[in-house]
Symmetry: C2
Subunit: 116 residues, 2 copies
């Protein structure tokens, strides 16, 4: 290979491109986080959890969906580490993983409100 010329086919003056490479797996992970939150059913769950822990049955009641459906949603949220799990007797309580996640959810809801 010759040099690292980016053989760009166009002629305009390029903007300042200070690319910090952004590892592919990082991109994939961040996208997966967004994707997990990008479903109304799952986002509703995250919103519920903004005000504290809930057990699966409660979440099912609040959304009007079946236990199975809610459990599947929680599984996906958990796979992305967006929620935590805690057993207490018969019930399993879910909560937001950290304040970072809470901020992300609030931020998107704000944007949705403000934008319309």
């Amino acid at each position: 290979m010759d040099d690292e010329t980016p053989d760009c086919g166009h002629d305009h003056d390029h903007p300042r491109v200070a690319h910090e490479a952004l590892a592919p797996h990082l991109l994939e992970r961040a996208a997966a986080i967004f994707r997990a939150a990008g479903d109304p059913g799952r986002l509703r769950i995250l919103h519920c959890l903004l005000c504290g822990e809930h057990c699966v049955s409660d979440l099912a009641d609040e959304s009007g969906d079946g236990l199975s459906t809610v459990s599947q949603r929680l599984k996906i949220l958990r796979a992305e580490r967006l929620v935590t799990r805690r057993r207490d007797g018969k019930h399993i309580f879910y909560g937001l993983a950290d304040e970072h996640v809470a901020e992300l959810v609030r931020s998107a809801l704000d944007h949705a409100r403000h934008d319309h």
Copy 2:
């Protein structure tokens, strides 16, 4: 109907649930925003735009994908008002819609880095 008892089938003491109702269309919109950002190809574009405007051809070069592919991605990002469009001669420049969006992207990438 009797009263507004939420006929909850379980027996544990419920956590403080201060639900602010969260309009369905708002939920749908917020989810759509996350969904738009929840694809590696589109997220890479958003990341590129963190450091300023780019035209479609540049974005295509940076990702190694075709013009058509990138254009479709931008269409989705634009539908959710995540990016802006500006024509300058032959080229069309895209940029992040506002600092709010930039924050959202940075936040998710941080979370992806910090997490696993």
